[in-house]
Subunit: 213 residues, 2 copies
C-alpha cells in the first residue's frame, strides 16, 4: 500500500482554497495575494499561482491581468446554477448508462451492500460509496468528455457542512435505488428524470446546511 500519495503542491493548495471559498471563508471580491498565500502555506508563489489559475478555470475566482485574483461570490444563486448544470450533465450520464449495464455491476453490488448495512455504516464509508455510485454512472455513460466536466462539477459540489444527519443518507440511498432500477430496466428518460430529482433534492439539502452556518 502506498504510504502517502504524492500530490503536487498546487493541487493541495487548490483543494484547500476551493473548500474555503465554497465554505464562504472569504468575503466576495476579496483579493488573494500570491505572497500572502505562499507565506501561509510555506511555499513559494509558483505553486500558489498555479492553484489560483486552476480555481479560476473552475469559476471560483477571477484572475485580472497584473491585478491579482478576487474571489467569486458564493450565494444561493451560485449553488442553484451549479446544481442545475450538474443535473443536466449527470442526467445525461444516467440516460446513457442504460447502454452499458455490465459496467455497473460492481457498483450495483456495493449499492446492495449499502442497502443492507445502511444503519451501521460510518459517514466516511457512505461518502466513498456515494462517490463510487456517481462516478460509476459517469464511466458507464462512456463519454470521456462528460466524465471530465462532471469531475470538475463534483469538486465544486462540496459546499457547506459535510456532516448531515443520517436522514439524508437514507433518502439518497432510496433515490439511488430508483435511479438504478430505471437504468437496469433500460429506461433512459426515467433514469434521467430520477437523477435530476436526486440532484435537485441534494441541492436543497446543501442550501439548508449552507444557511445554518
Amino acid at each position: 500500500m502506498k504510504p502517502t500519495e504524492p500530490m503536487p503542491v498546487r493541487i493541495k493548495i487548490a483543494s484547500i482554497l476551493r473548500r474555503e471559498i465554497l465554505a464562504g471563508e472569504f468575503a466576495p471580491g476579496e483579493e488573494l495575494s500570491l505572497t500572502d498565500l505562499g507565506a501561509r502555506f510555506g511555499v513559494s508563489r509558483t505553486p500558489v499561482r498555479e492553484a489560483l489559475q486552476a480555481l479560476a478555470s473552475e469559476g471560483l475566482i477571477q484572475l485580472r491581468m497584473n491585478r491579482g485574483a478576487i474571489v467569486q461570490k458564493i450565494d444561493d444563486k451560485f449553488i442553484m446554477d451549479h446544481f442545475e448544470i450538474r443535473a443536466l450533465l449527470e442526467s445525461e450520464a444516467a440516460a446513457r448508462a442504460t447502454k452499458h449495464l455490465e459496467q455497473l455491476l460492481p457498483m450495483a453490488q456495493l449499492h446492495r451492500s449499502m442497502l443492507e448495512r445502511i444503519s451501521t455504516v460510518e459517514q466516511e464509508e457512505f461518502v466513498a460509496y456515494n462517490q463510487t455510485f456517481h462516478m460509476s454512472l459517469w464511466e458507464a455513460a462512456d463519454s470521456q468528455r462528460l466524465t471530465h466536466f462532471l469531475m470538475d462539477l463534483w469538486n465544486g459540489s462540496s459546499i457547506g457542512k459535510t456532516t448531515d444527519g443520517g436522514e439524508h443518507r437514507v433518502k439518497a440511498l432510496r433515490e439511488h435505488e430508483e435511479i438504478l432500477q430505471c437504468i437496469f430496466l433500460k429506461e433512459p428518460e426515467k433514469a434521467r428524470e430520477a437523477m435530476r430529482k436526486h440532484l435537485l433534492r441534494s441541492m436543497e439539502n446543501i442550501l439548508a446546511s449552507y444557511h445554518n452556518q
Copy 2:
C-alpha cells in the same frame, strides 16, 4: 483605441496549442516537452507550463505527475461528445433566455441586419455575429456558471477548417431565426429544441470538414 491588446503569454500559447490539437496536428498520445515548446515559442518553461495546465483543465491533454503531458485523441467521438454537452447546456441557456427578452434586443437587431445583408457579408463579420448571437443568449440566461462553462466549450468548438462555404451560413442564420422566434414567443421548450437542433447540425458540418482534412 488600444494599439495591441496585452495578453499573458500563457493565454497566447494555450490558444495556439489548443487550435493545433483540435486541428489534429499532434499524434494522439504525443508527449509535449516544456523545454521544446519553450524553445519553439521563444519563452521560458513557466508560461508554457501554465498553458499546458489550462489545456489539461479543458481535457485536451493529460498531465501526469513528473511525467509530462500527452495529447488527447481528437476523433469523431470526442467531437460528438463535446457537442452533446454543449447542446445540453446551450439549450438550457436558450430556454432561460425567454425570461430576459430585453437583454436580447441589441443582438436581435444585429441578427435582422444579418438577414438583410447575408449575401454580402464577409466571413469575418459573420463569425463575429455568430459569436454575439450565442454569447448574448448565454448572458440572457442569467447564470454566470452556465456562461463560464459555455465559454470553455466554445473555445473547444473550433475544430477543423474554419472556412466553410456560404451555404452553412444561410442554414445557421435560418436556425438562429427559429431560435429567436421561439424565445421571443416565450416558448422555452421549443427554444431548447431549436438550439439543440442547431448545434447538432453544426456538429455534422464540423465532422464533415474534419473528415475532408
